[in-house]
Each structure stands twice: as C-alpha cells, then as structure tokens.
Amino acid sequence: MTIDATMVGRSYTAAGSYQVGREKIREFADAIGDGNPAYRGADPIAPPTFAFVIGSRALEELLGDAELGLRLDRIVHGAQKFSYTRPIKAGDEIAATATITTVRKAGPVEVIMYETALTTVDGEPIATSTSTLSHNRADT
C-alpha cells in the first residue's frame, strides 16, 4: 500500500514517555556546538531543536505503519518548524503523538506533512513540531 490523502488524520503515539535528563541536554548542546549556559547547570532547559529528538519516537511509529509503505532511505526532510508553549526542561516526562496533516503527490514523490504534539504525561502542552517530508517512490 502507499500513503495517500485518505490517510490524513492518522495518529501515532510514541511507545512510552520520554524522560528528559540534564546529562542528555548537555550532551545535545555540546553536539550542536552551543555553549549557551541555559542548557547547562543543575536546572537546564533543552535547546529548541531537542524537541525533534523527542518527537522522533512518534515518527518511528508513523514510519512503522506498513499501510503507508514508507522507506526511510527514500525520505528527505524538507521543512521543519517548532512552536513552543514553554521550553523543554530537565525532569520533564513527555508524551509525543504525530498526526499526518497533508499528503500531496508530485509524480513519484509524496510530500507529507505531519504535526507532532509534545505534552507532559499529564497533558500539559509543551511544543508542536510541524514537519514536511518528501518520499520518493521512483524505481519501486
């Protein structure tokens, strides 16, 4: 099967919540080369793009839906946006759910937009990630 517009609205929740730790925040800040003290110390917030790391767990579920017929090696990240209600911080326990919002076809390429909602396990909104992917089905 292949992804199409009838699959808009499908939702995928990450298996289990993500516990945000200060050591991982520091490791991530080091990896992106950002020395901002806000990401270090005893009570750090996470750098903005860390939201994608947490959201990726929901993306895994989406890519695992056999009915979409998506292959990781045919996927390109086209665009990415984040909206924050508040920063992610060490100690947060975060649930992620990705929902397909649009599917367009341009020849063999499917352009897929999905939104990932990050909330605490109690349902407090933290951030929304809006992602655009291109999936190239040529030669399949």
């Binding site: 901002n36 903005p48 990240h77 984040f82 909206s83 040529a138």
Partner: protein
C-alpha cells in the same frame, strides 16, 4: 521602541566528521548517510552529509544567541534546500549563517533532494517573546 531593522549577528559554523558522529549519538539519528561514505554514495549523494536537524540547530543559534534567554523563543522554522557534504578531513565544511533584520535569519541548511539541489537559501522566520510581548516575524527579505 521598535526593534525592527535590528541586525542579528551572523554565525559561522564548521562541521567535521566527528561532529556528525557526536550529533548522531546525541540525537539518536543514526542514518548512515551521515557517517558512511559507502552508503551515501549508494544513494547517489556526493558523500556523507550533515544531518539537516544539526544545521537547523546551528541556524537557530543566530536567534537564541541574540535573545537574553533562549526560553523566549516561541516559534522557529526552516526549509531544507541544500546539502552540506562533510569531507573526511581536518577542514570539514564551513557555512555562514547571516544575521538578518530582526527576527529573520537566513541559513544554509542541508538535505539531499531528489535529483535537484538548488542554490536557494532557506528562510527561517522566528517569533520570540521579549518582556512578555510577542514580537512578530516580518517577511524575510529576498536574496539574490
């Protein structure tokens, strides 16, 4: 006092192979196109390329470095238009991210595209909260 027209300082970033390895570990993105020349070539890429999200993290620094507190960032987006190949040498790949009028920043960010790699810069609108006020994003200026 209006902040419109304030220029954000530009940023120059260099990625070397070990930076991509470090980012793969920190982010959990172990896609082999970001560390294996063999796998990158098999997919038609010019070589190992930087993770798009790593380049986005660099681009957003133009804004968060300028903000007193990165917690004031409310919204940030990019489009990925160019690849950033990272050679396996001591020089790596250097990119310049221009600081534009508040709050827009232009960034060279990378991804591999299906058969096309245009020269267009990605526009990265940002919205930030300053002193409790939401400061809206003007349309980023076009680039020639």
């Amino acid at each position: 006092m209006s902040l419109a027209g304030t220029e954000l300082p530009p940023l120059t970033v260099t990625f070397k192979r070990d930076d991509l390895v470090r980012y793969a570990g920190a982010s959990g993105d172990f896609n082999s196109i970001h560390w294996s020349d063999r796998m990158a070539a098999a997919l038609g890429l010019p070589g190992v390329i930087a993770h798009g999200m790593l380049t986005m993290a660099s681009a957003v620094r133009v804004v968060t470095d300028w903000l007193d507190d990165p917690a004031d960032l409310v919204e940030y987006g990019v489009r990925f238009t160019n690849m950033i190949p990272v050679p396996d040498d001591d020089q790596g790949a250097t990119s310049r991210i221009d600081g534009e009028e508040i709050f827009s920043s232009d960034a060279w960010v990378g991804h591999w595209g299906p058969r096309k790699c245009d020269e267009q810069k990605a526009n990265s609108p940002a919205i930030s909260r300053l002193s409790g006020q939401l400061v809206a994003v003007p349309t980023p200026p076009a680039h020639g």
